[in-house]
Every structure is written in C-alpha cells, then in structure tokens.
C-alpha cells in the first residue's frame, strides 16, 4: 500500500521545523517515529501534503533526572526506555508498558513524544503519564509552554498542540520516598491495542499511609482517562484490601468503554476493575 503523494523535508533544527510548519500550513504533519502516522497514510486515513521529519534534529532524545523532574526528550524511542538504567531501576511502569507496546522492531523507532502527540486513547503512554502526573513541554516559534497532561488530550486525535508547535519534552516529578508504579493492559495478541489498560502509581509514607496515588486508564474512554475518584479513595488510606477494592470498583464504574471487537462494555468494565486491583498491588509491592 502506498500513501498519497506528499512533499518531504528533514530539517536539522527546531527553528527550521517551525518555519516549515508555518510555510506549509495545516496540511503539514510532523514525522517522528512514524509507526502510527505511516500506517495511517498507507491506509489513506491520513493524507498530509507535507511531512516534516524531525528525526535529524539533534538534542530531542534523552532520559535524565534534573531539577526535580524525570525529563524525557520527545524523540526518545521506546527502546531507550527499555534500556535506560534510571527507568528500569526507578520507574518500572515504563518497563511494563514498553514491553506491551507493539513489538521490538516498532519499539526501535516509535517515540514517546509521538505516542502522546498522536492523541489516541488506545495508546499506552497517555495513561502512564496521567498516573505519573506528567507535564509536557510544547515548543513553537514564540517559545515554550508547559501543559499538564490532564489538559493535554482534547479529543479523538486532538491534543493541546497547536499548529506550528512541536512536543519537545515530557517531565515527570522525580520519584521519591516509597514510590511504586505498574502498568498492564489486556491485549488479544502481541501488538494489539489494549482491550483495557491500567497505570497505577502510589507513594507511601513510613507509617504506611498513601500520600499520593495516580491511576490512568487506557482505551476505555474517548480520551485517555484519569480515575480521579479511585485516586481520592486511596490518598490518606492505609492501602488495605478494602481500599484497593474500592479504588478498583470506582475505576470500573467511572470509565466509559464502548463495545467493539475486543469486548463489550461490561467485559471491559470488569477488566478495568481486575487490572486496577492487580496493578495497585504490584505498585505497592514495588514501593516497599
């Protein structure tokens, strides 16, 4: 399958990329890893007239802790997360998620920034970032702005990124104290989108009280979703079996899945409950 014809540029600086975006207008698209965009173009679901390939722009791929944040350059690949010492030792939620995203070849190219900027509720990083309370840096000709992940997803394939802007960095508050995180999605086969997925993050003080909780849900709402009622039920609790069951029940009640080939609404709600419980327990285990 061949995409509709388009013009291609591969700028070597962000300034050049912004200039091209302005020059070409609304029909230009940014090409990052390309493993969502190119399949869509081949299927003719997308037909941008210009592709601006940002793979040759240096300085957009890094994973580091700095100024109280875990900073991930938007062009970091899934494989970079899998191979990063900081990630595998402290932020296992990414290791869980990466392993379930597509397959090794796709993870060699797919980027973290692209996974978010695509604005697809079926992607896995949105829920993970919500659970981690991330913020994203969006850059444009007029400078940079920071947007909370809670305000980032606007709808089906639409995000807070305006035309002429590029997502450049993801920032996550550095994990401190007894911090644990976990992610799992139910998928029919390797590489499939989630039937339902849950990201769970907990922070526990020395008395065993939960001081922070984050729960993000994949593919059970029109946009990536935060299970706020579940989070509220956990914070301040001792994370007993009853507390966890309550959080799981809230997540299952509050999500809005739709029936499709992967399952019906009741099944997906049930899955959300089960996975929330399991991921909370795994995150708590990791926090100890």
């Amino acid at each position: 399958m061949i995409a509709e014809d388009f013009k291609y540029d591969a700028p070597v600086s962000l300034a050049d990329a912004f200039a091209l975006l302005h020059q070409y207008g609304d029909d230009a698209k940014i090409l990052a890893g390309g493993h969502s965009l190119i399949p869509m173009m081949k299927l003719r679901f997308a037909a941008p007239t210009h592709l601006i390939d940002i793979n040759n722009i240096p300085g957009l791929s890094y994973i580091k802790e700095e100024d109280g944040f875990l900073k991930i350059g938007a062009m970091s690949r899934e494989v970079d997360l899998e191979e990063s010492e900081i990630i595998t030792s402290k932020y296992q939620i990414f290791t869980d998620a990466s392993k379930l995203i597509a397959d090794p070849q796709v993870r060699n190219f797919g980027t973290i920034g692209g996974n978010l900027a695509h604005g697809d509720a079926a992607n896995d990083h949105p829920a993970v970032m919500m659970a981690l309370d991330a913020e994203v840096e969006i850059s444009g000709q007029d400078g940079k702005r920071t947007v909370s992940i809670n305000d980032f997803f606007h709808g089906f394939y639409t995000t807070a990124i305006q035309h002429g802007e590029i997502l450049t960095e993801i920032r996550i508050p550095v994990a401190s104290g007894n911090f644990g995180s976990a992610y799992h999605k139910a998928e029919r086969k390797v590489g499939d989108y989630a039937t339902a997925g849950v990201a769970a993050v907990v922070q526990i003080d020395d008395n065993g009280v939960c001081t922070k909780a984050g729960i993000g849900l994949t593919n059970v709402n029109a946009t990536p979703m935060r299970a706020e009622r579940s989070e509220a039920a956990l914070v301040g609790s001792m994370l007993s079996e009853t507390d966890i069951a309550k959080a799981a029940q809230y997540a299952s009640e509050d999500c809005n899945p739709s029936t499709d080939l992967r399952g019906d609404i009741d099944y997906k709600r049930h899955l959300v409950g089960v996975i929330t419980k399991r991921m909370l327990n795994r995150a708590i285990q990791r926090a100890k």
């Binding site: 014809d5 013009k7 390309g34 597509a102 090794p104 796709v106």
Partner: protein, 166 residues
C-alpha cells in the same frame, strides 16, 4: 523526487525516489534484492525486517527517504565468502523454516536480539521475536535455532539439533 544515498550490506547505492516510496520497495525494486519480503504490509508480520544502523526495523513502515545516509543490512548481507552466518547455520541445522516466507525477517530480528542479549532465555527469545509471525507456526524450531546460534556465537557447547516432538 528526492535523491537517497545509503549503504546496503556495505555497498553504497543511490536512487531517485518519490517521498512516498517505502524502504522495502526501494530495496526490492530499485536494487533487486528480493530477500526482504513483504507480508502484511501493515507492520504486523515482520517479514520485511532489516537492520538500519544495526537496529531491526520493519521496512514497510519506513520511507525510503528516511534511510538517506543510513547503513542497511538485509538477509543478503548475512553470509560471507567463508560461508553462512551463524544464524543461517542455526536455522538450517534446526529446521527452523517450513515455507520460508518469514525466515529472512526472523533471522534479521534474531541478529539484533543476540547482539543486545547474547544469552537470552527462552522467554526473552519468544518476546524478542514477537514482532515476527510464522504462519506455518514453526516457532519451536525457530526458538531452538536462536538458542543454538547463541551457544555458537559464545563458543559454548552446541545444543542438539535433533528434532523435538511436542
């Protein structure tokens, strides 16, 4: 049209391509190397797997223009004048192919897998080739072949190549 210059299996090639040309088509049609196969054409099956700067990639989901300046390895680049590459030897001796359509892709994927993880567990091998589909479902012998190659590359005692019936 754009000019693309890239190295394939150590040899420099140049071509004029339309931006929408896929890398797999450039390799197969412009340069007549048909060892890289097109299976699903939707980045699911892995038959088109090649190495780009040493990283396994699905060449049906990468534009030819993106490979400008890159070093590509295809299945044609595995064997040398001295003989088969250890992964090819492993596939041959362990009967790791039935129809053979997926084989080039699986071998290219296995090359990177063993480079990064010279001594993978069976589970790591199975996750490692999870982006390659064998519709003959000959996975057991593929896993066996990769284990054999891993031993061979590390100079370890070679496992038996006798068929295992499960």
């Amino acid at each position: 049209m754009k000019t693309v210059t890239l190295k394939i299996n150590g040899t420099e090639h140049t071509a004029e391509v339309s931006p929408r040309t896929l890398l797999v088509h450039l390799i197969r049609e412009n340069f007549s190397m048909t060892g890289t196969h097109i299976g699903c054409d939707t980045s699911s099956c892995g038959a088109c797997t090649i190495l780009i700067n040493g990283r396994s990639a699905k060449s049906c989901t990468i534009l030819a223009v993106q490979a400008d300046g890159k070093e590509i390895t295809t299945v044609e680049g595995l064997a040398t004048a001295e003989g088969l590459h250890p992964i090819q030897e492993g596939f041959h001796l362990n009967h790791a192919l039935h129809c053979g359509f997926c084989t080039a892709g699986v071998m290219m994927r296995a090359v990177e897998l063993l480079e990064k993880n010279p001594n993978p567990t069976e589970e790591e091998i199975r996750w490692g080739i999870s982006g390659n589909l064998c519709r003959c479902t000959g996975y057991n012998n593929i896993v066996k072949a990769i284990q054999w190659t891993s031993a061979k590359l590390q100079g370890k005692e070679l496992p038996s190549t006798e068929p295992v019936f499960v």
